[in-house]
C-alpha cells in the first residue's frame, strides 16, 4: 500500500498568519493555522497510507478526500519512497547554452587590496599581469555567440585585474560584439566590475553611451573603504575614486550602477555603509564576506553574527520603506526576495560552469571569474572549444543531489551548497558544501521569509515589481 510522508518544509509566521515553504519545490503557501498540528499529529509515526490518514481525521469521507488530495497535489505530502532528489535534466554535456562570458581583459590591477583573492592565485595585486589582446577578445566573442544556442541575448562581462587598465580593448570588444550581434540577429549586453580609480570622463562617457552595467567595488565611507582598499604603496584610494564616482553617478542612467562591498575583518557598520553608498547615488549595494584563507581578514563567528544582526536591521528598514512603496537598494535582500517569489529551485549554487564561463587573457576557459587560473576549474579554451568531459564531471559532482551533507537541509534548494570559490578556499574542495556558513544562511533565509510573508500580506504587488526589476517575466501575463 502506498505510504506518504510530509515533504521537507519550513513553517513560518507573520502577523498572525502561517506560511509553509516547501523545500523540494520552493513553493510558498499561506496555510490555515492548524495545518501544522494536523500534519504533525497525523504523521507522528512518519509514514501513513491514505486510509490510515483518513482514519485519523474527523471529517466526512468527502472532506477528508478533498483535503488529502489538496495536500498531495501541492506537494505537502509525498510518496514515502519517492527520491528526495530529482536528477536535473538537461545539464548533460553541451546541453546548456552559453549565456555569459566573463573576459579577464587584464590581470593587472593598480590597487593592492589586502584581502584580494587574486593574490592567492599567484597574481600579486598591484603588479602587472597578462593582458588580453584584441585577437583573443574577438575569438572569445565569436565563441560566445557560437555557443549561445537559441538564446536571444548574450552577456559579455569585463573583469580583471582592473579592466579599465585595458580600456582600449574594451572599446574594441564592445564594437565587435555589437557588430556580431547584428550579424547573428541577437542582443548583447555588457557589464563591468571596476575599482573606480580609472573612471575618467572618457571612460564614463563610453560606459554610459554603450549602456554598460557597472559594478563598483567600494567598501563604504572613507574610513571603511581605506582599511583594505589601498594602492600597492599603501596610499588610500577613497579620495581618488570619490570624484570619479560622483561624475559617474551624476549621469542619468539606463542601467543601474551598483556598489559591491567586501566585508572583512570585523563586519564594520554595514547599515551606515549602505546609507553612505545610496546617498552617493548608487542604485543598490550588496555585501559579501571576504573569501580568503587568511584569518586576519576572514569574518570570525562574532563577525558573522554581527553581520547577520545588521542584515536583520536593514531588512526591517527595507520593509518599512517598501510599505511606503519606495525603493531601498539593499541588494542581498532584494535578491533573496526575488528567489523566494519566483520559487527558484536551485540544483546548483550559481551559473558557474553552466551558462557562465570566464576566459583568461589567453582565452583559457574557467568555470567562473573567481576561479580563473585554478587548474581544476580549467574547462577548455576558446580556440579548441570546451572540454566537455571535464564540464560533465564538474556538473555531475556539483549538483545538490551529490552533496550528502545537504540532503536533509530545508534551505538546500536556495543555497545549493554555496559559492564554489568559497568552498575551495574554506572547505578544501570546489564542490564541497560551505558548512562553515550553514547556520548563517539558514537564519538569513528565515529573515527573508519573514519579510516575504509581510510583503505578501501588505503589498504583494511590490514583490512582483522586484521580480521584474531582476528581469523576470510576470506570472500569467499580469500587468502591474
Amino acid at each position: 500500500m502506498q505510504k506518504f510522508r510530509i515533504a521537507e518544509n519550513r513553517m513560518f509566521h507573520a502577523d498572525g498568519h502561517d506560511f509553509l515553504f516547501l523545500t523540494g519545490s520552493s513553493a510558498i503557501f499561506e496555510t490555515d493555522p492548524d495545518i501544522k498540528d494536523i500534519l504533525e499529529q497525523g504523521f507522528r509515526a512518519g509514514e501513513l497510507s491514505r486510509e490510515e490518514f483518513f482514519s485519523r481525521m474527523s471529517g466526512s469521507d468527502e472532506e477528508n478526500r478533498e483535503f488529502f488530495e489538496e495536500i498531495v497535489n501541492r506537494g505537502v505530502l509525498v510518496k514515502a519512497n519517492s527520491e528526495a532528489f530529482a536528477r536535473t535534466t538537461g545539464t548533460e554535456q553541451g546541453a546548456i547554452p552559453l549565456k555569459t562570458l566573463v573576459l579577464h581583459v587584464t590581470e593587472a590591477c593598480n590597487l593592492g587590496c589586502r584581502y584580494c583573492y587574486h593574490s592567492q592565485n599567484g597574481h600579486a595585486p598591484g603588479k602587472t599581469g597578462r593582458t588580453m589582446s584584441s585577437e583573443v577578445a574577438q575569438q572569445a566573442i565569436d565563441f560566445l555567440f557560437e555557443h549561445s544556442g537559441s538564446l536571444e541575448e548574450v552577456i559579455l562581462v569585463f573583469f580583471g585585474g582592473e579592466p579599465l587598465m585595458n580600456f582600449n580593448l574594451i572599446v574594441f570588444a564592445v564594437k565587435y560584439a555589437r557588430d556580431k550581434a547584428l550579424e547573428k540577429g541577437k542582443k548583447v549586453s555588457f557589464a563591468i566590475t571596476t575599482n573606480g580609480t580609472l573612471l575618467t570622463d572618457k571612460a564614463i562617457r563610453f560606459l554610459h553611451e554603450n549602456k554598460i552595467g557597472i559594478t563598483v567595488s567600494i567598501d563604504g565611507f572613507e574610513e571603511a573603504h581605506d582599511r583594505f582598499r589601498r594602492f600597492p604603496d599603501g596610499t588610500p584610494s577613497y579620495q581618488v575614486i570619490l570624484p570619479r564616482i560622483k561624475n559617474l553617478l551624476r549621469l542619468e542612467r539606463e542601467k543601474p550602477v551598483v556598489a559591491r562591498v567586501t566585508v572583512a575583518g570585523d563586519s564594520g557598520d554595514v547599515p551606515e555603509i549602505l546609507d553612505h553608498l545610496l546617498d552617493l547615488g548608487f542604485s543598490e549595494a550588496g555585501f559579501a564576506p571576504v573569501t580568503t584563507p587568511d584569518t586576519s581578514y576572514q569574518l570570525n563567528a562574532d563577525g558573522m553574527n554581527k553581520l547577520l544582526d545588521q542584515f536583520g536591521n536593514l531588512s526591517d528598514k527595507f520593509l518599512e520603506i517598501a510599505r511606503q512603496g519606495d525603493f531601498f537598494g539593499f541588494t542581498n535582500l532584494i535578491d533573496l526576495l526575488v528567489v523566494l517569489h519566483e520559487g527558484e529551485v536551485k540544483n546548483y549554487p550559481c551559473g558557474a560552469g553552466l551558462g557562465l564561463f570566464a576566459a583568461d587573457p589567453e582565452g583559457r576557459l574557467y568555470i567562473c571569474q573567481r576561479l580563473t587560473g585554478e587548474s581544476s576549474c580549467y574547462m577548455g579554451d576558446i580556440f579548441k572549444g570546451f572540454d566537455q568531459g571535464k564540464i560533465g564531471t564538474f556538473r555531475e559532482q556539483a549538483e545538490i543531489g551529490q552533496r550528502n551533507l545537504c540532503r536533509t537541509c530545508w534551505v538546500r534548494t536556495i543555497c545549493a551548497g554555496g559559492c564554489y570559490h568559497e568552498a575551495m578556499v574554506r572547505e578544501g574542495g570546489l564542490t564541497k558544501s560551505n558548512l562553515h556558513y550553514c547556520d548563517w544562511i539558514k537564519t538569513w533565509v528565515d529573515m527573508g521569509l519573514a519579510v516575504y510573508a509581510r510583503l505578501t500580506l501588505e503589498c504583494p504587488e511590490y514583490l512582483e515589481k522586484l521580480s521584474m526589476l531582476r528581469g523576470h517575466a510576470p506570472l500569467f501575463s499580469q500587468v502591474i
Binding site: 520552493s26 513553493a27 481525521m57 483535503f67 497535489n73 501541492r74 517569489h341 516575504y452 510573508a453
Partner: protein, 108 residues
C-alpha cells in the same frame, strides 16, 4: 483531529502548483514534466468487446483519462491486444527501448 484545511498559494512556484491540478504535472515539479503523452507507457487503449457503449471504443476509458494531461490528451491509436491483436506487443519487450518495433497493423 480536524478536517479540511486550505493552502493558499503565495509565490509563483506555488501558483504553478495550483495550475498543476488543472494541467496534470508529474510529482517532481522541479522538472515540470507533463504526464501522459509519451512520458509514461500505459497499457493499450483496448477496444470494447462487449455489445454496449462505447462499442468498439476504448475499454477502461476511465482509467485512461486519469493519465490524460489536461489539454494534452491525445490517445495513441494502438491496436487492441485483447480482442484482435493479442500478440501485438510481443515484438516489444521493453517499450522504452523497443517501441520502434511496434509498427502498425492492418485490420483483418
Amino acid at each position: 483531529m480536524k478536517k479540511k484545511k486550505a493552502l493558499k498559494p503565495v509565490n509563483k512556484r506555488a501558483k504553478k502548483l495550483e495550475e498543476k491540478e488543472v494541467f496534470g504535472m508529474s510529482d517532481d515539479i522541479s522538472t515540470s514534466m507533463p504526464i501522459g503523452c509519451t512520458t509514461i507507457f500505459d497499457t493499450g487503449w483496448e477496444t470494447n468487446p462487449r455489445p454496449e457503449t462505447p462499442m468498439s471504443n476504448c475499454l477502461s476509458s476511465a482509467r485512461d483519462f486519469t493519465s490524460c494531461s489536461g489539454p494534452c490528451w491525445w490517445p495513441a491509436q494502438t491496436p487492441d491486444n485483447i480482442t484482435n491483436f493479442p500478440d501485438f506487443q510481443n515484438q516489444c519487450r521493453a517499450i522504452e527501448k523497443d517501441w520502434r518495433n511496434l509498427n502498425f497493423v492492418i485490420k483483418r
